[in-house]
Symmetry: C2
Subunit: 149 residues, 2 copies
DNA sequence: TAACAATTGAGATTGAATCTCAATATCAAA
DNA sequence: TTTGATATTGAGATTCAATCTCAATTGTTA
């Protein structure tokens, strides 16, 4: 179990600022996401909580996720299996994703040069970028070597 | 109405190769997409056809789109309004997208340097890229100047 | 032309995501 | 601590894109 001090305070502050309430359910959802600490979707989060005898209704999970996004703790990342997928990004640097079409493995990467060129291209078009998503689909190293056999 | 000679042949050849039939409905759908010649989703395509008195069932439209993707004529591009969006890409160079979060405008761009760096990053990770999608959300030039007033 | 297999369309179904609303919990103020 | 205004919860209903079903129809090949 990770330490949750700072992010929890951020979440509480976000809720307070918006006149929203810090509930038992929201804390359980928050803790669940901290424990998973990797890509998840709303449904898998429900299942994860259920497995720990913390049954929170789907509705509450679906309602809390956007709050955590707005508070800056989690980010909508890939779309996997036709579901929105999220990841804990608080305190982590922005990154993009490679996804293996064979085994589903997700490889995170960051390349400052790509990021810089993106900003450059935006500037050239008079476009002010807010956020972006770069997803590369292909075959991961492990699947490639399996296939070559 | 654009000329449709070559792409139509490609579609017919794809169908033949797969033992599938070239039907009246598939031709109508094909022609519709050629006429639209910009981003579309399955539903808007149905509506477009209906407006031209070519009522094709949603099921057939939804069934034909993947065939056109596989035949290399159209590509799944952005996800807009929570629907898959496609565009005619036959004969066009690959490109990525900026989307204005204010007005929805779509700006297509291509930067060879970004593409090259992507390949480089993949190679470094032993990942063989098949396709990718880069979507940048932000404010377009027009919306920015409106907002500054 | 005949025979087989693929296709069509209307409507049913799926599944993620959202909504409804009565019962309940939170929290700031008293 | 108590109170009360207001936000939240959960079970189930609802939405909506996308997919599936299946009997009737059409395309293709011989
Ligand atoms: Mn990036
Ligand atoms: Mn690109
Ligand atoms: Zn793999
Ligand atoms: Zn705009």
């Amino acid at each position: 179990m990770k330490k949750t001090g700072l992010p929890l305070e951020i979440f509480r502050n976000y809720l307070r600022k918006k006149g929203l309430k810090f509930t038992r359910e929201r804390l359980i959802i928050f803790n669940g996401i901290i424990s998973i600490s990797k890509h998840f979707d709303a449904d898998s989060l429900c299942e994860f909580l259920k497995g720990r005898n913390k049954n929170i209704s789907r509705a509450s999970v679906y309602r809390t996720i956007p709050l955590l996004v707005k508070s800056g703790l989690i980010t909508e990342s890939l779309r996997c299996n036709n579901k929105f997928s999220y990841e804990l990004t608080f305190g982590r640097r922005h990154h993009d994703h490679m996804v293996c079409v064979k085994c589903g493995r997700i490889i995170e990467f960051y390349d400052a040069r790509i990021e810089k060129l993106q900003n450059e291209v935006c500037k050239k078009r008079g476009f002010e970028p807010l956020r972006h998503k770069l997803g590369i689909k292909g075959y991961c190293r492990a699947c490639l070597s399996k296939m070559r056999k």
